[in-house]
């Protein structure tokens, strides 16, 4: 078994899937006609103020004659007026914007919740579960990682949790130890990244 080949296969599969979803997205996004605009900026001309015109037209119609409505000048001046205007065709994808922002906010929210859980709720739960005396005792120990690990062992043994959960917990403990180590070297000892 070779991970490289599996990855290649997986990649092909992902490519196919991406292509399919891309097509679906395309049809979905193109329905949204608000995502294209032709924006014309016309500078002040004689006694007419500068104006901005926006229209929902396709690329080939994106010029002053189609977009500037109503035309502020008479027929013979239209050409002179339009020569000064600058028209730009712009596209955006409001779907992408929406998805990105919502995804960003949900990840941020999850991280904040997890942070609050780790700093506030977990110690409180521990206190409730194991009583006050043990917590004081464990606070005097080397660090608060080891006693927590013990606490987790006790928990898992008493409830005979499935092995998977234990593994996750173990990984989490390991990760927290690493973060603590990093925090020590960055914030306390200032050996790296200062």
């Amino acid at each position: 078994w070779d991970p490289g080949q599996t990855v290649h296969l997986l990649f092909m599969y992902v490519c196919v899937m991406l292509h399919r979803t891309h097509n679906q997205m395309k049809t979905y996004l193109l329905q949204n006609s608000e995502d294209i605009r032709c924006k014309c900026i016309c500078p002040p001309y004689r006694d007419i103020e500068g104006q901005i015109y926006k229209q929902n037209v396709s690329l080939k119609d994106c010029n002053c004659l189609h977009v500037v409505e109503p035309m502020p000048v008479d027929g013979k001046d239209v050409e002179a007026y339009c020569l000064r205007c600058e028209c730009k065709y712009e596209e955006r994808s409001s779907g992408t914007i929406k998805v990105t922002i919502i995804m960003y906010l949900s990840i941020l929210g999850l991280l904040l919740l997890y942070m609050v859980y780790l700093t506030l709720l977990e110690p409180m739960l521990k206190r409730r579960l194991f009583g006050h005396s043990q917590l004081i005792q464990s606070d005097d120990d080397v660090g608060d990682q080891q006693p927590f690990a013990n606490a987790h062992n006790v928990l898992s043994r008493s409830h005979s949790r499935p092995n998977m959960l234990n593994k996750v917990e173990h990984a989490q403990q390991r990760w927290r130890r690493q973060v603590q180590e990093q925090r020590k070297s960055v914030f306390d000892r200032h050996v790296v990244l200062s």
Binding site: Y45, K54, I97, T100, V179, Q182, V192
Partner: protein, 840 residues
């Protein structure tokens, strides 16, 4: 264990010793002292953990989990036993089923490029040999050759997508400080008014869909009360974003703070910082970068994007055995990823490749150049297809003008270069002094409060001035912009000539006298310049993701724009002067202030980072105009000369030195006449070098020797008497092998002999079986003689990426030189504290 041979062999080299040097320790291979306790625990833990699939931190230590997933722990004992019985030719081959953990590195250590590269060559040779035997092996070899490009494709896609997301989110969150969009909270200010027809020529971003906080709370957008409400809301959001950013960094990934480029430079040169390029760092850096940028702090997202791209590359490396297991190969990918980072940050693929080559990379073969090029292309394409700004451009401050410049203008451009150089040198000095203060004094103990105070200060001072209120990228975009009739901003507040409507049809304008609006803009810009210069010094290096490119470009752009407007007015009022005569007649459009802003930005960035070629290429990719290469070149070169006169290192090197990373600068030259014997350890007064003999030592003796010292490696000699060199063994490999043998190999006890020779010596029948360790010994360690000049030795270290080098005299082992020794020696020559070099 120690043999005091030093006094004898040194007799020939007496007088070579540097007399002024007196170092208390002889820790040529010493670890940072407070890590010593953890070290043994770490190794023991690592050996115990082999059988479990664990979350191994990225960068290095790939060997562990691969071993456990592919072969499982049950077979390892037979493997170890088999190693003992197989012939000597197999033992030499490093690829022949090495023990798990052997050949990996500890945290905060330096890799041995030579060893990694030869490992990869061996692997490659084996695959090529096998590919002739079967179709499956042939396919495997093809996929192996292809995997590098596939990896580049994936890195480009991922980094491009992330950069697009960051752009969109940062833009939105930044506008959130001002108000909210009623037709969909996810739109930023510009997209909120995308189709609105209520926007006017004067107030282009005003539409009823977008409500400022004052309008929402008080119902009016006019008056002092509304202003105060907006002001307070601005400060509130700035503080909230800054607080979230710093707490998230603190809670989940402390390595995500800072710009990341100094560390990536060090990592690319061979240093190992575990977890620095891991997935948590990636997530937290991406999330908090958006928060930090939108909090209004004077920082940019360009530098951290390089870090983000490198994290992507490192994580994706885990999918491919070739890159997971080899630190040198992985660094090639990381070099390419640095190019990808700049490519998406500035929309400049070629500039990104050159940035990687000029600024961050240590080992950059041609193959990496092509791969970086490809990856940068893919990334730029991905970002373009996301279209984060809705204007089909990759960066906010893309400019497009083709106004010509005159030769006389080179003088102000060079003036801007001088300004950039002075500012760069001053900034580096001030910032390093401030960071040193943070490192050593009580200031460093309150990172959260520090960030909050700076954010509050920035918000309070920045809001009243419209040029500091807008984000750095927007400011630069406004300053780069050339005034035409279409613009209504304050910066274009020139007096309108009376007969404007009749002259010409285009929108470009002849030089005009400055009007009321422009004068207001000018003094606002001057205040903004002073503010930006000061606040950036204390912002860079705080514990939030913070880049330096945008703030220094903003400083330069402001200065350039001021000078540009000044020149323009000078030319307008004095076009009969000798210097303006002939090319700047009245009514002609001869001076473009936007171009001055661009040149100023390049000069300041060049002064701070000391980039030259890559900077010019990035700038011309930003502008799409080839005709400005000469002004940009003149300004960056002047800026580099001026800045180099005050101190030769750029901001990234200065930070590397501040942190004491083991980085051997390739740009500096070593010009002293010292010899290898002056630098090597042990010194004259020190105890002799701790060596292993190729046979005759027991496991117990070896363990005592290893545990009583802190060295990362031990030379192996023929015998204590002759001191003839056989090879070199790394401490970590030795410990792991012995530990493994004790657990899994029959009959290995403390009294067993440790044998490094090809054939085990004959010994009595009742003796325990010997432990053969030839497989972990490096049989080709680099050696120099004691009279080799140091400049040659330094060159060898730099060009080959050595970690250590042994010193011999008449064929006898005399001592050892490590990278750290060289760095200490250089620090000592330059009158710096040699103890500032912290890591191995």
């Amino acid at each position: 264990m120690f043999q005091f041979w030093g006094s004898r062999t040194y007799s020939g080299a007496e007088g070579m010793e540097n007399p002024g040097y007196c170092s208390g320790s002889f820790d040529g291979l010493h670890h940072p002292s407070d890590d010593d306790d953890d070290e043994m625990v770490d190794i023991a833990g690592a050996t115990l953990d082999f059988s479990s699939t664990d979350d191994v931190p990225p960068l290095s230590s790939g060997g562990f989990e691969d071993y456990s997933t592919t072969t499982g722990s049950s077979s390892s004992s037979s493997r170890a036993a088999g190693m003992n019985g197989t012939g000597p030719s197999n033992l030499v081959d490093p690829l022949e089923d090495p023990l798990p953990g052997v050949g990996t590195y500890e945290d905060f250590n330096t890799i041995d490029w030579v060893r990694e590269k030869s490992k990869d060559r061996d692997r490659h040779r084996e695959i090529t040999n096998k590919s002739r035997q079967s179709t499956v092996a042939l396919l495997h070899s093809i996929s192996d050759a292809f995997s590098g490009w596939l990896l580049m494709l994936l890195v480009g896609l991922m980094a491009g997508a992330l950069a697009g997301g960051i752009d969109i989110a940062a833009h939105w969150l930044n506008d959130m400080k001002g108000g909210v969009c009623l037709i969909g909270f996810w739109f930023n200010h510009e997209h909120c008014c995308w189709t609105s027809n209520e926007t006017t020529f004067q107030e282009r971003d005003r539409c009823p869909q977008w409500q400022s906080w004052a309008e929402l709370i008080t119902g009016t957008s006019e008056g002092a009360f509304a202003y105060v409400v907006n002001y307070l809301m601005y400060i509130f959001w700035a503080l909230l974003f800054a607080f979230l950013a710093v707490t998230l960094v603190r809670a989940f990934a402390p390595y995500a703070c800072g710009s990341g480029i100094p560390e990536i430079k060090t990592i690319l040169s061979g240093f190992i910082i575990r977890g620095y390029l891991g997935k948590w760092t990636l997530i937290i850096k991406t999330i908090t970068l958006v928060l930090a940028v939108s909090s209004g702090l004077s920082l940019g997202k360009e530098g951290p994007l390089v870090h983000v791209a490198c994290c992507c590359a490192n994580i994706l490396c885990h999918l491919f055995t070739k890159y997971r297991k080899n630190e040198a190969k992985r660094r090639e990918v990381l070099s390419a990823a640095a190019a990808v980072g700049v490519s998406v940050a500035f929309g400049a693929p070629i500039g990104g490749v050159l940035f990687s080559l000029e600024e961050v990379s240590y080992y950059f073969p041609l193959k990496t150049l092509w791969r970086s090029f490809f990856a940068a292309l893919v990334a730029a394409f991905t970002l373009r297809s996301i279209n984060p700004f809705g204007n089909s451009r990759l960066v906010l401050f893309y400019v497009e003008f083709h106004a010509p410049w005159h030769l006389v203008e080179l003088a102000p451009f060079i003036l801007l270069g001088i300004f950039g150089g002075l500012w760069g040198a001053l900034f580096i000095k001030a910032n390093i002094a401030w960071c040193r203060k943070r490192k050593s004094t009580i200031l460093g103990h309150y990172p959260v409060i520090e960030v909050l105070v700076v954010a509050a200060l920035t918000a309070i001072i920045a809001y009243p001035n419209s040029y500091t209120r807008m984000s750095g990228a927007e400011l630069i975009s406004e300053l780069f912009n050339d005034c035409s009739l279409l613009d209504s901003s304050q910066l274009c507040g020139y007096k309108q000539p009376t007969n404007t409507s009749e002259t010409g049809a285009g929108n470009s304008l002849a030089d005009r006298p400055a009007g009321e609006g422009l004068y207001t803009a000018l003094w606002q810009l001057a205040l903004a310049l002073v503010f930006k210069m000061m606040i950036t010094v204390i912002t860079f290096g705080m514990k939030v993701p913070s880049g330096l490119f945008i703030p220094s470009m903003a400083v330069g752009a402001i200065a350039g724009r001021l000078l540009g407007v000044g020149m323009e007015q000078l030319a307008y009022y004095h076009h009969d002067w000798f210097i303006f005569k002939g090319w700047c007649s009245p009514g002609a459009d001869c001076i473009t202030p936007g171009l001055y802003a661009m040149v100023g930005a390049a000069a300041c960035l060049g002064g701070v980072t000391r980039m030259t070629v890559s900077l010019v290429v990035i700038m011309f990719e930003l502008t799409g105009g080839l005709e400005y290469i000469v002004p940009l070149m003149a300004a960056t070169m002047t800026s580099k000369w001026v800045a180099d006169a005050f101190g030769r290192e750029g901001i990234y090197e200065a930070h590397i030195r501040l942190n004491g990373y083991p980085f051997l600068e390739a740009k500096e030259e070593f010009e002293y006449s010292s010899l290898a014997v002056d630098v090597m350890r042990p010194r004259r007064a020190d105890p002799a070098l701790a060596v292993l003999t190729q046979e005759g030592m027991t496991v117990g003796e070896v363990e005592t020797l290893v545990e009583s010292t802190h060295y990362s490696g031990f030379p192996v000699v023929v015998s204590q008497e002759s001191q003839r060199l056989v090879g070199f063994v790394l401490r970590r490999d030795l410990l792991i092998s012995i530990d493994n043998a004790r657990k899994r190999q029959e009959g290995v006890v403390s009294a067993s002999q440790v044998v490094f020779t090809e054939h085990a010596p004959t010994q009595p029948d009742d003796a325990p079986p010997p432990l053969r360790l030839r497989g972990i010994m490096d049989l080709s360690p680099f050696t120099v003689t004691d009279h080799t000049p140091m400049d040659i030795t330094v060159d060898i270290f730099r060009k080959l990426g050595l970690r250590q080098c042994l010193v011999t005299h008449n064929g006898r082992l005399l001592g050892i030189i490590t990278k750290k020794d060289i760095l200490k020696h250089m620090a000592q020559i330059a009158n710096r504290d040699p103890e500032s070099i912290l890591f191995n």
